[in-house]
Assembly symmetry: C2
Homo-oligomer: 167 residues x 2
Protein backbone atom coordinates (compact mmCIF):
# COMPACT_ATOMS: atom_id res chain seq x y z
CA UNK A 1 0.00 0.00 0.00
CA UNK A 2 2.56 2.48 -1.16
CA UNK A 3 4.96 2.17 1.71
CA UNK A 4 8.66 1.58 2.03
CA UNK A 5 9.77 -1.62 3.71
CA UNK A 6 11.20 -1.49 7.19
CA UNK A 7 14.56 -2.41 5.78
CA UNK A 8 14.56 0.74 3.69
CA UNK A 9 13.73 2.78 6.74
CA UNK A 10 16.55 1.15 8.64
CA UNK A 11 18.89 1.77 5.73
CA UNK A 12 18.07 5.47 5.84
CA UNK A 13 18.70 5.84 9.55
CA UNK A 14 21.89 3.82 9.25
CA UNK A 15 23.13 6.15 6.53
CA UNK A 16 22.13 9.10 8.68
CA UNK A 17 24.25 7.69 11.49
CA UNK A 18 27.20 7.21 9.15
CA UNK A 19 26.87 10.78 7.95
CA UNK A 20 26.84 12.07 11.51
CA UNK A 21 29.80 9.87 12.41
CA UNK A 22 31.78 11.12 9.45
CA UNK A 23 31.10 14.70 10.46
CA UNK A 24 32.26 13.86 13.98
CA UNK A 25 35.51 12.47 12.64
CA UNK A 26 34.79 8.77 12.97
CA UNK A 27 36.29 6.91 10.01
CA UNK A 28 33.78 4.07 10.24
CA UNK A 29 30.97 2.62 12.36
CA UNK A 30 30.31 -1.07 12.95
CA UNK A 31 26.95 -2.72 12.43
CA UNK A 32 26.81 -3.25 16.17
CA UNK A 33 27.25 0.42 16.95
CA UNK A 34 24.54 1.42 14.51
CA UNK A 35 22.09 -1.22 15.67
CA UNK A 36 22.55 -0.23 19.29
CA UNK A 37 22.17 3.46 18.52
CA UNK A 38 18.69 2.83 17.13
CA UNK A 39 17.61 -0.09 19.26
CA UNK A 40 17.43 -2.40 16.25
CA UNK A 41 18.29 -6.11 16.10
CA UNK A 42 21.88 -6.65 15.05
CA UNK A 43 21.41 -9.43 12.46
CA UNK A 44 18.84 -7.33 10.63
CA UNK A 45 21.06 -4.26 10.59
CA UNK A 46 23.91 -6.42 9.33
CA UNK A 47 21.80 -7.57 6.41
CA UNK A 48 20.76 -4.05 5.56
CA UNK A 49 24.34 -2.80 5.60
CA UNK A 50 25.48 -5.70 3.45
CA UNK A 51 22.95 -4.75 0.81
CA UNK A 52 23.98 -1.11 0.89
CA UNK A 53 27.57 -2.20 0.52
CA UNK A 54 26.84 -4.46 -2.40
CA UNK A 55 25.01 -1.63 -4.13
CA UNK A 56 28.11 0.49 -3.71
CA UNK A 57 26.51 3.11 -1.49
CA UNK A 58 28.81 2.46 1.43
CA UNK A 59 32.32 1.12 1.81
CA UNK A 60 33.57 -1.28 4.44
CA UNK A 61 36.68 -2.37 6.26
CA UNK A 62 36.87 -5.83 7.70
CA UNK A 63 38.56 -7.11 10.77
CA UNK A 64 38.59 -6.20 14.42
CA UNK A 65 38.22 -2.47 14.02
CA UNK A 66 36.25 -2.70 10.83
CA UNK A 67 32.99 -1.02 9.95
CA UNK A 68 31.13 0.94 7.32
CA UNK A 69 31.45 4.41 5.91
CA UNK A 70 29.79 6.52 3.24
CA UNK A 71 31.23 6.28 -0.24
CA UNK A 72 29.72 9.59 -1.25
CA UNK A 73 29.00 12.94 0.33
CA UNK A 74 25.50 13.05 1.85
CA UNK A 75 24.68 15.77 -0.69
CA UNK A 76 25.19 13.28 -3.50
CA UNK A 77 23.41 10.27 -2.07
CA UNK A 78 19.89 10.26 -3.47
CA UNK A 79 16.99 8.65 -1.67
CA UNK A 80 15.87 6.68 -4.70
CA UNK A 81 19.28 5.02 -4.84
CA UNK A 82 18.93 3.93 -1.23
CA UNK A 83 15.42 2.59 -1.62
CA UNK A 84 16.27 0.76 -4.82
CA UNK A 85 19.39 -0.75 -3.29
CA UNK A 86 17.16 -2.43 -0.72
CA UNK A 87 13.90 -3.03 -2.54
CA UNK A 88 14.72 -3.06 -6.21
CA UNK A 89 13.22 -0.70 -8.79
CA UNK A 90 10.55 1.71 -7.62
CA UNK A 91 7.28 0.85 -9.30
CA UNK A 92 3.76 1.58 -8.16
CA UNK A 93 2.21 -1.13 -10.32
CA UNK A 94 3.28 -4.24 -12.19
CA UNK A 95 2.79 -2.43 -15.49
CA UNK A 96 5.63 -0.05 -14.61
CA UNK A 97 8.42 -2.55 -15.25
CA UNK A 98 11.46 -0.73 -16.51
CA UNK A 99 13.04 -3.64 -18.37
CA UNK A 100 11.29 -4.77 -21.55
CA UNK A 101 8.04 -5.46 -19.78
CA UNK A 102 5.94 -6.68 -22.66
CA UNK A 103 5.89 -10.39 -21.99
CA UNK A 104 6.47 -10.07 -18.26
CA UNK A 105 3.36 -7.94 -17.94
CA UNK A 106 1.25 -10.43 -19.80
CA UNK A 107 2.18 -12.90 -17.12
CA UNK A 108 1.65 -10.64 -14.15
CA UNK A 109 -1.34 -8.46 -15.03
CA UNK A 110 -4.55 -9.65 -16.61
CA UNK A 111 -5.83 -6.27 -17.65
CA UNK A 112 -2.78 -4.75 -19.30
CA UNK A 113 -3.75 -5.92 -22.81
CA UNK A 114 -6.99 -3.95 -22.58
CA UNK A 115 -6.05 -1.44 -19.91
CA UNK A 116 -7.15 2.14 -20.54
CA UNK A 117 -4.79 3.69 -17.98
CA UNK A 118 -1.46 1.90 -18.25
CA UNK A 119 0.15 4.87 -19.94
CA UNK A 120 -0.95 7.27 -17.25
CA UNK A 121 0.07 4.91 -14.46
CA UNK A 122 3.54 4.70 -15.92
CA UNK A 123 3.83 8.46 -16.00
CA UNK A 124 2.61 8.69 -12.43
CA UNK A 125 5.27 6.17 -11.53
CA UNK A 126 7.94 8.31 -13.15
CA UNK A 127 6.76 11.35 -11.27
CA UNK A 128 6.81 9.57 -7.94
CA UNK A 129 10.26 8.23 -8.63
CA UNK A 130 11.48 11.67 -9.62
CA UNK A 131 10.12 13.04 -6.38
CA UNK A 132 11.98 10.46 -4.31
CA UNK A 133 15.07 10.96 -6.41
CA UNK A 134 14.92 14.66 -5.87
CA UNK A 135 16.16 14.52 -2.30
CA UNK A 136 19.49 13.47 -0.87
CA UNK A 137 20.65 12.16 2.46
CA UNK A 138 21.77 15.67 3.28
CA UNK A 139 18.27 16.97 2.59
CA UNK A 140 16.85 14.31 4.85
CA UNK A 141 19.15 15.35 7.70
CA UNK A 142 18.62 19.06 7.18
CA UNK A 143 14.86 18.60 7.02
CA UNK A 144 12.72 18.41 3.91
CA UNK A 145 10.53 21.36 2.97
CA UNK A 146 6.99 20.66 4.07
CA UNK A 147 5.34 22.72 1.39
CA UNK A 148 4.44 20.62 -1.63
CA UNK A 149 6.69 22.78 -3.73
CA UNK A 150 5.90 21.05 -6.97
CA UNK A 151 2.17 21.65 -7.08
CA UNK A 152 1.24 24.51 -9.34
CA UNK A 153 -0.52 27.24 -7.42
CA UNK A 154 -3.63 26.94 -9.50
CA UNK A 155 -4.17 23.22 -9.28
CA UNK A 156 -6.40 22.90 -6.28
CA UNK A 157 -8.26 26.07 -7.10
CA UNK A 158 -9.08 24.89 -10.57
CA UNK A 159 -10.71 21.69 -9.50
CA UNK A 160 -12.60 23.34 -6.70
CA UNK A 161 -13.94 26.24 -8.66
CA UNK A 162 -14.90 24.38 -11.76
CA UNK A 163 -18.64 24.15 -11.46
CA UNK A 164 -19.36 24.13 -15.13
CA UNK A 165 -23.05 23.94 -15.81
CA UNK A 166 -23.92 20.45 -17.02
CA UNK A 167 -27.08 20.79 -19.06
Amino acid sequence: MLNFTRKSDYALVALAKLAEGAKAGQPSLSAREIAEAYNLPLPLMMNVLKRLHRAGLIGSTRGVHGGYFLNEEPEHLRLAAVIEAIEGPLQVAVCCQSSSGAEAEQRTCRVTPVCPITGSIRRLNLQIRDLVNRYTLADLLAGLPDGAGFVAETDLVVSQSRTRATP
Copy 2:
Protein backbone atom coordinates in the same frame (compact mmCIF):
# COMPACT_ATOMS: atom_id res chain seq x y z
CA MET B 1 7.94 -1.59 -1.84
CA LEU B 2 6.05 1.52 -2.68
CA ASN B 3 3.39 -0.01 -4.86
CA PHE B 4 -0.35 0.17 -5.00
CA THR B 5 -2.24 -3.03 -4.32
CA ARG B 6 -3.90 -4.86 -7.15
CA LYS B 7 -7.26 -3.96 -5.70
CA SER B 8 -6.45 -0.29 -6.13
CA ASP B 9 -5.43 -0.91 -9.73
CA TYR B 10 -8.68 -2.73 -10.35
CA ALA B 11 -10.60 0.08 -8.69
CA LEU B 12 -9.05 2.58 -11.07
CA VAL B 13 -9.87 0.63 -14.20
CA ALA B 14 -13.38 -0.01 -12.90
CA LEU B 15 -13.88 3.70 -12.40
CA ALA B 16 -12.46 4.32 -15.86
CA LYS B 17 -15.06 1.94 -17.25
CA LEU B 18 -17.85 3.68 -15.36
CA ALA B 19 -16.68 7.04 -16.72
CA GLU B 20 -16.68 5.71 -20.26
CA GLY B 21 -20.07 4.15 -19.75
CA ALA B 22 -21.51 7.38 -18.43
CA LYS B 23 -20.17 9.26 -21.42
CA ALA B 24 -21.78 6.64 -23.67
CA GLY B 25 -25.13 7.15 -22.00
CA GLN B 26 -25.23 4.03 -19.83
CA PRO B 27 -26.83 4.87 -16.49
CA SER B 28 -24.99 2.06 -14.68
CA LEU B 29 -22.75 -0.96 -15.18
CA SER B 30 -22.93 -4.20 -13.23
CA ALA B 31 -19.94 -5.81 -11.54
CA ARG B 32 -20.23 -8.60 -14.06
CA GLU B 33 -19.95 -6.29 -17.03
CA ILE B 34 -16.90 -4.56 -15.60
CA ALA B 35 -15.16 -7.79 -14.63
CA GLU B 36 -15.69 -9.25 -18.08
CA ALA B 37 -14.47 -6.10 -19.79
CA TYR B 38 -11.11 -6.43 -18.09
CA ASN B 39 -10.83 -10.18 -17.77
CA LEU B 40 -10.92 -10.03 -13.98
CA PRO B 41 -12.55 -12.52 -11.59
CA LEU B 42 -16.05 -11.47 -10.69
CA PRO B 43 -15.93 -11.98 -6.89
CA LEU B 44 -12.85 -9.80 -6.68
CA MET B 45 -14.38 -7.04 -8.74
CA MET B 46 -17.50 -7.22 -6.59
CA ASN B 47 -15.44 -6.66 -3.47
CA VAL B 48 -13.62 -3.73 -4.99
CA LEU B 49 -16.85 -2.08 -6.07
CA LYS B 50 -18.38 -2.63 -2.65
CA ARG B 51 -15.50 -0.79 -1.05
CA LEU B 52 -15.76 2.09 -3.50
CA HIS B 53 -19.45 2.26 -2.78
CA ARG B 54 -18.98 2.29 0.96
CA ALA B 55 -16.46 5.10 0.60
CA GLY B 56 -19.09 7.07 -1.29
CA LEU B 57 -17.17 7.28 -4.55
CA ILE B 58 -19.79 5.42 -6.54
CA GLY B 59 -23.50 4.92 -6.23
CA SER B 60 -25.44 1.72 -6.79
CA THR B 61 -28.83 0.42 -7.69
CA ARG B 62 -29.86 -3.05 -6.60
CA GLY B 63 -32.04 -5.57 -8.28
CA VAL B 64 -32.19 -7.18 -11.65
CA HIS B 65 -31.01 -4.24 -13.69
CA GLY B 66 -28.85 -2.82 -10.95
CA GLY B 67 -25.28 -1.71 -11.13
CA TYR B 68 -22.84 1.03 -10.24
CA PHE B 69 -22.32 4.58 -11.40
CA LEU B 70 -20.04 7.49 -10.60
CA ASN B 71 -21.22 9.83 -7.88
CA GLU B 72 -18.99 12.60 -9.15
CA GLU B 73 -17.69 13.93 -12.41
CA PRO B 74 -14.38 12.30 -13.40
CA GLU B 75 -12.81 15.77 -13.09
CA HIS B 76 -13.63 15.79 -9.39
CA LEU B 77 -12.62 12.27 -8.47
CA ARG B 78 -9.07 12.42 -7.15
CA LEU B 79 -6.72 9.46 -7.27
CA ALA B 80 -5.79 9.71 -3.61
CA ALA B 81 -9.46 9.30 -2.70
CA VAL B 82 -9.64 6.11 -4.74
CA ILE B 83 -6.46 4.62 -3.32
CA GLU B 84 -7.41 5.49 0.23
CA ALA B 85 -10.89 4.06 -0.20
CA ILE B 86 -9.28 0.70 -0.95
CA GLU B 87 -6.09 0.72 1.09
CA GLY B 88 -6.59 3.19 3.87
CA PRO B 89 -4.46 6.29 4.43
CA LEU B 90 -1.44 6.74 2.20
CA GLN B 91 1.70 6.48 4.29
CA VAL B 92 5.18 5.55 3.21
CA ALA B 93 6.28 4.59 6.72
CA VAL B 94 4.72 3.70 10.05
CA CYS B 95 5.82 7.04 11.47
CA CYS B 96 3.48 8.85 9.05
CA GLN B 97 0.30 8.00 10.91
CA SER B 98 -2.18 10.77 10.48
CA SER B 99 -4.21 10.13 13.62
CA SER B 100 -2.53 10.89 16.93
CA GLY B 101 0.36 8.61 16.24
CA ALA B 102 2.37 9.11 19.41
CA GLU B 103 1.57 5.91 21.25
CA ALA B 104 0.80 3.90 18.12
CA GLU B 105 4.27 4.62 16.78
CA GLN B 106 5.92 3.51 19.95
CA ARG B 107 4.30 0.17 19.39
CA THR B 108 5.09 -0.16 15.71
CA CYS B 109 8.54 1.42 15.27
CA ARG B 110 11.50 0.90 17.53
CA VAL B 111 13.56 3.79 16.30
CA THR B 112 11.02 6.62 16.33
CA PRO B 113 11.99 7.77 19.84
CA VAL B 114 15.55 8.43 18.67
CA CYS B 115 14.96 8.76 14.93
CA PRO B 116 16.84 11.59 13.22
CA ILE B 117 14.70 11.60 10.08
CA THR B 118 11.09 11.13 11.17
CA GLY B 119 10.26 14.75 10.41
CA SER B 120 11.65 14.58 6.91
CA ILE B 121 9.96 11.27 6.20
CA ARG B 122 6.64 12.77 7.18
CA ARG B 123 7.16 15.67 4.80
CA LEU B 124 8.13 13.30 2.03
CA ASN B 125 4.94 11.43 2.72
CA LEU B 126 2.92 14.62 2.40
CA GLN B 127 4.58 15.41 -0.90
CA ILE B 128 3.88 11.98 -2.31
CA ARG B 129 0.30 12.19 -1.19
CA ASP B 130 -0.05 15.62 -2.73
CA LEU B 131 1.28 14.28 -5.99
CA VAL B 132 -1.24 11.44 -6.05
CA ASN B 133 -3.96 13.81 -4.99
CA ARG B 134 -3.08 16.18 -7.75
CA TYR B 135 -4.63 14.05 -10.49
CA THR B 136 -8.20 13.08 -11.15
CA LEU B 137 -9.88 10.24 -12.95
CA ALA B 138 -10.31 12.56 -15.90
CA ASP B 139 -6.57 13.20 -15.96
CA LEU B 140 -5.92 9.49 -15.89
CA LEU B 141 -8.17 8.95 -18.89
CA ALA B 142 -6.85 11.92 -20.82
CA GLY B 143 -3.27 10.87 -20.13
CA LEU B 144 -0.95 12.26 -17.48
CA PRO B 145 1.89 14.55 -18.50
CA ASP B 146 5.08 12.55 -18.70
CA GLY B 147 7.40 15.39 -17.90
CA ALA B 148 8.15 15.46 -14.21
CA GLY B 149 7.17 19.09 -14.08
CA PHE B 150 8.34 19.61 -10.55
CA VAL B 151 11.90 18.41 -10.92
CA ALA B 152 14.46 21.14 -11.26
CA GLU B 153 16.26 20.89 -14.57
CA THR B 154 19.65 20.54 -12.94
CA ASP B 155 18.96 17.63 -10.66
CA LEU B 156 20.01 14.68 -12.73
CA VAL B 157 22.83 16.55 -14.40
CA VAL B 158 24.44 17.30 -11.09
CA SER B 159 24.73 13.71 -10.03
CA GLN B 160 26.00 12.56 -13.41
CA SER B 161 28.61 15.19 -13.94
CA ARG B 162 30.16 15.09 -10.56
CA THR B 163 33.62 13.68 -11.09
CA ARG B 164 35.36 15.66 -8.46
CA ALA B 165 38.94 14.56 -7.93
CA THR B 166 39.15 12.57 -4.72
CA PRO B 167 42.72 12.80 -3.51
